[in-house]
């Protein structure tokens, strides 16, 4: 078995798990009885998407696409902090 077929096989085993996990996280975002559940699910979705982007960059064979992962991992953090601060103080700037 040559290397490209091995890579293709590994990725074909891994992709359905990731896509199913995205759908399940989306169901939790939609269902979430409180806002905190939804935010937690958005958080997990973004971090896992960062991992998925890095793996897809190997599949697409393009180095320029891998930069987005680092940005996505940094930015999902901001949403959590803002919602938490809103619930803590009701006024974000203090």
């Amino acid at each position: 078995m040559n290397a490209e077929n091995l890579l293709f096989m590994i990725l074909m085993i891994a992709f359905p798990f990731y896509l199913a996990a995205f759908v399940l996280y989306s169901i939790r975002i939609v269902k979430g009885p409180t806002i905190f559940d939804s935010v937690l699910a958005v958080d997990c979705l973004s971090f896992d998407l960062a991992a998925f982007i890095a793996i897809l960059a190997i599949y697409f064979r393009s180095a320029f696409l891998a930069t987005s992962a680092i940005i996505l991992a940094l930015w999902a953090f901001l949403l959590d902090l803002y919602l938490a601060k809103y619930f803590l103080k009701r006024e974000v700037g203090i």
Partner: protein, 84 residues
């Protein structure tokens, strides 16, 4: 081989439609903001598959970072519920 691209694209677009429907129909505005962030995540997968890394870098920072922060500011200064 293009099949895999199209499957990921179709899943992300349908989930994006679900999130945007809920963001527009939800009465609690804070939940609507979170659904809007979810829609931003889904559309960013679509931008990634459509091979637009330049747009993706701007879109992630705007739609997930700055935009939700702006809406939380606005909601904390005005009101949270929408009366239909």
């Amino acid at each position: 081989m293009i099949f895999i691209h199209l499957v990921i694209l179709a899943i992300s677009m349908i989930l994006g439609f679900v999130f945007s429907y809920l963001a527009i129909m939800e009465e609690d505005l804070l939940k609507a903001v979170i659904y809007s962030a979810g829609q931003g995540v889904m559309f960013s997968i679509a931008f990634y598959i459509l091979m637009a890394p330049d747009v993706l870098l701007a879109y992630i920072a705007i739609a997930i970072g700055i935009y939700t922060a702006l809406l939380v500011f606005v909601i904390s200064k005005t009101e949270r519920k929408e009366v239909v």
